[in-house]
C-alpha cells in the first residue's frame, strides 16, 4: 500500500474520464441518434430528377390546344469545367450548333458559374446532337438530352384562357419552395390556375454516392409521369368565330368613328374588345376572347424583352373578359328591372310597373335638400308614354331614373335603401365570379357605405355630401361609379334568365390523368340562389326579345339573320364617353348582353368594345353574329347597327 491513496486518486480520475465518454456516447448514439441517422441517410443518397412533360390542354371536344414535345437540349455541367476547358467547349459547340460563341457563352452565364446550363431554343437538329455526342471526349461535361417542351398548336387561339408558361420567378420560388427553378410553371390563364395538375411528376433516380460524390449504385428509379390533361369547356370552333368577330368589330368601330367624328373631336382609337359566351344552366364558358392577344408559344424558351415590352404596352396580356372594368351602362337596366318587378317598386305617380309614364327628353329631379338636377335622356325628344317593358326595349333612362327616385324617396336612410345594390350584389356585381382563371378583378358596386369610405381614403372620387339620390339614379342605368367585368355581366344575365341560380363560371370541365383516369370532374357549381319568379323571368326574356326586334334599340343590328333573331334577345349598353384629366377624348364603351334561345335560354353572350361607340351600333351586331353561330346559322358579314343607348 505504498502508493495507496495517490494511486486510488489516479484511478478515480481515470474512471471519471471513461464516464465522460460513456455519457457522451449515450448522448450522441441514443439521445440524439435519430438526428444523426437522418443526416447520415441524406449524405449517402443523391437524387437526380427528370423533368416531366406538362399535361395537355384540349378543348370541350378533345381537340388538342397545348401539348408537349421533346426538344434536344445541350446540357453543360459547368462544375467540371475549368475556365480554359470552358473556352474550348464554347468554341467547339459554337461550330457544331452553328451559333455565335457569344450566344453560347451567355447561355452558360445565365445558369451561373458551377451550375448546369441548358442550351435550348436553338433548333438543335439530330445531326448536331450526334456530332456533340461523337466529340464527347473533346467536350467534357457536355451531354445532349431530349427535354420536354411546351407546344401550343393553335397559335394565339384563346391565348388568354390558356395563358403561358415561363421559368419560375424569385417570387414563385418563395411562395412554393418545392418548385424546381429549371422547370417551367404556368404564368397566366389555366396554365397558371391548374399548374399543379399540369406539372406532372418528375422522374427520380436515386443513387448511393460516397464522400467524393462518386456514384456507386442506383438505389431505385421512377419514370417521369406527364401532367394531367385539362379538358376545357371552351369549344374551339365557336372560339375561333368569336375571335374573328372581335377583330372585325375593332375595324368596324374605328371606321364608324373615322366617318362620323368631326376632326377636332376625335376620340382615342378603338383597340380593345372582348366577348364571352357562357352556358346559362352550368356557368361553363363556351368561348372567351380578348383583343389584342398574343402567341403563348413566344414564351417557350423565353420571350424576348422587346417583344414582351411591346405586348405589355398594348395590354395584350390583359384578359378583358375578367379584368376589363367599365360601367355597364344600360345593360345594367336588367338588374333594375328585376329589382322593380320582384320588389314592387313603381315610378312616381303610378301604382304598378305596368303603368306608363312619359319618357320625356329630360328629367328634373327635386331632392329633399331642395337641390334640383336635370337629367337628359339619350333621345333628343320625348319617346312617348312607356311602361317598364317599353322602357327596357327603348332603353328609356327616364323610367329607370324614376324607379331609383322611388327607392330614394321611400327607403332613404333605411336598410332597404340598398335594395338595388342587394340585388346587384347577389347577382354577382362588386365581387369576383370565382372563375377558374387568375387575376380576376372584382369591380365596384357603389353604395352609401363605399362613398363614406371613399370620403376618407379617396376624397377626390366623391362629393362632400356623400351618397345622394343622383348616385342611385346613375346606378339604376349602370353609370356613375359602378364598374363591372364582362364575366360579371354574363354571370348576372345567366342568373336572371335561368330563374335564379348563380353559377361559378368555369373554363375547365374535367381533369384527366396520364392513365385516362378522371382526377376532377367539375359539375356546375351553384354559388347563390336568389329566387326570381318564373313570370318575371318570362317577362324579362320577352322584353329582351323585343330589344332586338323592330322598335328595340338593337333591331337594326339583328336584322337579316334568317329569322334566327326571333330566338335571340338582349340588352344594349353605351357607357358615356368623356374627356379625361389629360384632355384626351374617350369614346363610349359599347356593350351588348345577349341571350339565346329566348324560348329556353342556353347561352348568354357579352360583348364589350372599349372606345367602341354605341352599343346598339357596334356591340349588338357582333353579339348577333356570335348568337347566330351558337344557333347554327350561317355567318354573315359584320355590319353596323343603328346608334342607340
Amino acid at each position: 500500500m505504498r502508493f495507496g491513496w495517490r494511486l486510488a486518486t489516479l484511478g478515480v480520475v481515470f474512471a471519471g474520464l471513461l464516464s465522460v465518454l460513456f455519457v457522451r456516447l449515450w448522448f450522441v448514439q441514443l439521445a440524439e441518434g435519430a438526428l444523426y441517422a437522418a443526416a447520415a441517410e441524406n449524405s449517402t443518397i443523391a437524387t437526380e430528377s427528370q423533368i416531366a412533360p406538362r399535361g395537355d390542354i384540349v378543348d370541350a371536344n378533345g381537340i388538342p390546344l397545348a401539348t408537349s414535345r421533346s426538344e434536344l437540349v445541350v446540357v453543360v455541367d459547368r462544375a467540371v469545367l475549368s475556365n480554359e476547358a470552358e473556352d474550348q467547349v464554347v468554341s467547339r459547340l459554337s461550330a457544331i450548333l452553328e451559333v455565335g460563341p457569344i450566344v453560347i457563352r451567355s447561355e452558360l452565364e445565365r445558369a451561373g458559374s458551377g451550375q448546369v446550363a441548358f442550351i435550348s431554343d436553338m433548333d438543335i437538329t439530330a445531326d448536331m446532337a450526334y456530332t456533340v455526342l461523337e466529340q464527347r471526349l473533346d467536350l467534357p461535361g457536355v451531354t445532349v438530352e431530349a427535354l420536354p417542351e411546351r407546344l401550343y398548336l393553335e397559335g394565339s387561339l384563346m391565348a388568354h384562357v390558356l395563358g403561358h408558361i415561363g421559368l419560375p420567378s424569385s417570387g414563385d420560388l418563395e411562395r412554393n419552395p418545392d418548385l424546381d427553378p429549371n422547370v417551367v410553371v404556368g404564368k397566366l390563364g389555366v396554365e397558371r390556375e391548374y399548374d399543379t395538375f399540369l406539372q406532372g411528376t418528375p422522374g427520380l433516380v436515386r443513387y448511393t454516392i460516397n464522400a467524393q460524390g462518386d456514384i456507386l449504385d442506383q438505389v431505385d428509379a421512377s419514370d417521369p409521369v406527364q401532367g394531367d390533361t385539362l379538358w376545357l369547356t371552351i369549344d374551339s370552333v365557336t372560339q375561333r368565330v368569336v375571335e374573328q368577330i372581335l377583330a372585325d368589330v375593332i375595324v368596324l368601330a374605328q371606321d364608324r368613328k373615322d366617318e362620323k367624328e368631326p376632326a377636332d373631336r376625335r376620340t382615342l382609337p378603338t383597340e380593345r374588345a372582348t366577348a364571352l359566351v357562357m352556358r346559362v344552366d352550368t356557368g361553363e364558358i363556351v368561348a372567351m376572347g380578348s383583343y389584342p392577344s398574343f402567341e403563348p408559344q413566344a414564351f417557350v424558351g423565353g420571350i424576348g424583352e422587346d417583344e414582351f415590352a411591346s405586348l405589355s404596352e398594348d395590354f395584350a396580356f390583359n384578359n378583358l373578359a375578367i379584368q376589363g372594368l367599365k360601367p355597364p351602362a344600360s345593360t345594367f337596366k336588367a338588374v333594375t328591372y328585376i329589382t322593380a318587378m320582384m320588389e314592387g317598386i313603381f315610378p312616381r305617380d303610378t301604382t304598378s310597373v305596368e303603368q306608363t309614364i312619359e319618357c320625356s327628353a329630360q328629367l328634373r329631379a327635386d331632392f329633399v335638400d331642395d337641390s334640383q338636377l336635370v337629367y337628359q335622356n339619350w333621345t333628343r325628344a320625348s319617346d312617348g308614354f312607356q311602361n317598364i317593358h317599353d322602357a327596357f326595349r327603348r332603353s328609356c333612362n327616364i323610367y329607370f331614373w324614376e324607379l331609383a327616385l322611388s327607392i330614394w324617396r321611400d327607403f332613404k336612410g333605411t336598410e332597404d335603401e340598398d335594395i338595388l345594390q342587394d340585388w346587384a350584389s347577389v347577382l354577382g356585381f362588386g365581387r369576383r365570379t370565382q372563375v377558374d382563371l387568375p387575376f380576376e378583378t372584382a369591380g365596384i358596386l357603389p353604395d352609401r357605405e363605399l362613398f363614406d369610405e371613399w370620403q376618407v381614403t379617396q376624397p377626390w372620387r366623391v362629393r362632400q355630401e356623400g351618397w345622394l339620390g343622383g348616385d342611385l339614379m346613375n346606378l339604376a342605368v349602370g353609370q356613375g361609379s359602378i364598374l363591372v367585368t364582362p364575366i360579371q355581366l354574363a354571370t348576372a344575365y345567366a342568373t336572371m334568365v335561368n330563374g335564379g341560380t348563380v353559377y361559378q363560371p368555369q373554363v375547365v370541365d374535367k381533369i384527366v390523368d396520364a392513365n385516362g383516369e378522371i382526377v376532377r370532374d367539375f359539375g356546375p357549381r351553384p354559388l347563390r340562389t336568389p329566387e326570381i319568379d318564373p313570370s318575371v323571368v318570362a317577362s324579362l326574356l320577352a322584353d329582351m326579345g323585343s330589344v332586338v326586334r323592330t322598335g328595340g334599340t338593337a333591331a337594326a343590328a339583328f336584322s337579316g339573320l334568317d329569322g334566327l333573331e326571333l330566338q335571340m334577345g338582349g340588352k344594349t349598353g353605351t357607357a358615356q364617353g368623356f374627356v379625361d384629366a389629360e384632355g384626351l377624348r374617350h369614346a363610349a364603351t359599347a356593350w351588348f348582353a345577349g341571350v339565346a334561345p329566348i324560348s329556353n335560354p342556353e347561352f348568354v353572350v357579352v360583348v364589350m368594345v372599349d372606345e367602341g361607340g354605341s352599343g346598339g351600333a357596334v356591340a349588338a351586331p357582333a353579339a348577333a353574329r356570335i348568337l347566330t353561330q351558337l344557333l347554327g346559322g350561317s355567318p354573315t358579314p359584320l355590319v353596323a347597327g343603328v346608334d342607340a343607348d
Binding site: 495517490r6 489516479l10 481515470f14 465518454l21 450522441v28 448514439q29 444523426y36 441517422a37 460516397n210 462518386d214
Partner: protein
C-alpha cells in the same frame, strides 16, 4: 485497498506465487482489441478497394501483421526484466533524443516530419519515445520520498522531459507533446509531489500554453483545431467537417449499430482518416452504443489491471512505469474517442491496439509486455519485500 491487491487472496500457497504467471486478463483484452481493429480496418476500406479493383483485404492483412509483431513485442517485453530499463536509462534517454532528432531530417509528409520510411513501413519514433520517456521519468522519480518530493527532483524530471518534448514540438506533433505532459504529471503525482508543487506545476503548464498562444508558436491548423473544439457550431471547416462527419457516423449507430459491414458512413468513406485517428467512428456506426460501451469498458478493465499491477509492483520504479503506461493508455483512449464525439480537440492520437498503424501498435504491445513483466515480478504478498525472479 483490498481491491487493488490482485485477483488472488493473500496467504495462499507461497510456492505458487513465486512462479512467474502472466496477466491473462490483460493479454486477452489486448488481443481482442487487436482483432476488433483488424475487422474495423477491413470494414472501412473494402468497399472502396473493391471499387478500385484492388485487393480488399490488403490493409486488413497489413494490420494483422502489425498485430502479430505487437504480440511478439509483448512476449519479448514480458521476458526482459523491467529493471534493466532503469539500469540503462541514460542510454534510453540518448536513444530517444537521437531518434527524435533524426526524424527532423526526414521528408515532410502531410505537413509534418513524424516518420522514418523503412521500405513500405513508416516508422513513427514518437510512439516508442513515449515508452522511453516513461522509463526515464520513472528512473528519475524512483528514489523520491513518498511523503514529499524535493524541488530539485521535480526540476530534474521536467528537464529530462523537456528535450524530447521540444523535438516533438518541432515535428510538429502536439498530441504526443500532450501525452508526454500528462504522463509526467501523473507519474510526478504518484511519486509524491506535495500539493503546493502540484499547483505550481499546473500553473506553469497554463503559463506555457498561454505563452505558446501569445508568441504565435502554433500553426494555424493547430489554433483552428482548438478554436473549432471550443466552438463546435463554427465554420472552421477543416476541423469541424471531420467532427460533424464522425458524429453523424457514430450517431447513426444508435443502440445496436448498423451491423458489421453495414454502416453506410463507414463503407462509403465519409469519415476522413477512418482507419487511423477516426477508427472509433466505424465501431460506433456498426456496433452501436452497446459495442462502443463494451470497447470503452475493455479499456477500463485494462487500465484497472495496470493500476493493480502498479500497486503490487516489487519496487517504486516498476510501480511508476506501470502508472506511466496506464496514463498513456487512458489519455490515448480519452482523446481519441473524445474527439470523435466532440468532447476533446482533434489530435492525431491513435486508439490503442485498434487504429491502423504499426508503430503505435508495437509500442503499446511492448508497453503492456513491460507491465506484464512487472506483474510477474510482484511480491507474493502485497507490501512484502520483493522476491527476485529467476
Amino acid at each position: 485497498m483490498a481491491v487493488l491487491s490482485g485477483p488472488r487472496s493473500s496467504g495462499g500457497l507461497l510456492s505458487d506465487r513465486r512462479k512467474p504467471t502472466p496477466d491473462v486478463v490483460m493479454f486477452v483484452i489486448m488481443v481482442a482489441l487487436m482483432a476488433l481493429g483488424v475487422l474495423m480496418v477491413y470494414s472501412a476500406t473494402f468497399v472502396r478497394l473493391e471499387a478500385e479493383g484492388l485487393d480488399p483485404t490488403g490493409p486488413m492483412r497489413r494490420q494483422m501483421v502489425f498485430a502479430g509483431i505487437a504480440i511478439l513485442a509483448f512476449v519479448v517485453a514480458s521476458i526482459i526484466d523491467y529493471r534493466q530499463y532503469r539500469n540503462t536509462a541514460a542510454f534510453v534517454f540518448i536513444a530517444v533524443v537521437l531518434i527524435l532528432f533524426a526524424v527532423l531530417f526526414m521528408p515532410e509528409q502531410r505537413n509534418a516530419q513524424r516518420w522514418i520510411p523503412i521500405g513500405s513501413f513508416q516508422l513513427q519514433p514518437s510512439e516508442f519515445a513515449k515508452l522511453g520517456v516513461i522509463m526515464v521519468v520513472g528512473t528519475v522519480l524512483a528514489p523520491a520520498s513518498e511523503t514529499g518530493m524535493r524541488w530539485a527532483r521535480l526540476i530534474a524530471t521536467l528537464l529530462a522531459v523537456s528535450l524530447p518534448s521540444f523535438l516533438i514540438f518541432r515535428q510538429p506533433d502536439l498530441g504526443t507533446m500532450m501525452v508526454f505532459s500528462f504522463i509526467t504529471l501523473a507519474m510526478l503525482f504518484v511519486a509524491g509531489t506535495t500539493f503546493r508543487q502540484l499547483l505550481v506545476l499546473i500553473g506553469a503548464g497554463v503559463a506555457t500554453v498561454v505563452a505558446f498562444w501569445q508568441l504565435e508558436l502554433l500553426d494555424d491548423y493547430q489554433v483552428n483545431r482548438i478554436l473549432g473544439f471550443l466552438d463546435q457550431q463554427s465554420d472552421l471547416q477543416s476541423l469541424n467537417y471531420n467532427l460533424d462527419r464522425s458524429r453523424i457516423a457514430i450517431g447513426n449507430g444508435g443502440l445496436f449499430g448498423q451491423g458489421l459491414f453495414e454502416g453506410p458512413q463507414t463503407l462509403l468513406n465519409f469519415v476522413p482518416f477512418q482507419t487511423s485517428d477516426f477508427i472509433f467512428t466505424a465501431i460506433g456506426e456498426q456496433l452501436g452504443f452497446i459495442g462502443s460501451a463494451l470497447v470503452v469498458s475493455a479499456y477500463g478493465l485494462l487500465i484497472w489491471r495496470i493500476l493493480v499491477i502498479a500497486n503490487s509492483a516489487p519496487d517504486r520504479f516498476g510501480s511508476l512505469v506501470a502508472v506511466g503506461i496506464a496514463t498513456m493508455l487512458i489519455f490515448h483512449v480519452f482523446i481519441n474517442i473524445g474527439m470523435t464525439v466532440g468532447v476533446a480537440p482533434v489530435t492525431g492520437l491513435p486508439l490503442p491496439f485498434v487504429s491502423a498503424g504499426g508503430s503505435a501498435m508495437i509500442a503499446m504491445g511492448g508497453g503492456l509486455g513491460i507491465v506484464n513483466n512487472i506483474w510477474r515480478s510482484r511480491s507474493p504478498v502485497p507490501g512484502r519485500e520483493y522476491v527476485p525472479l529467476r
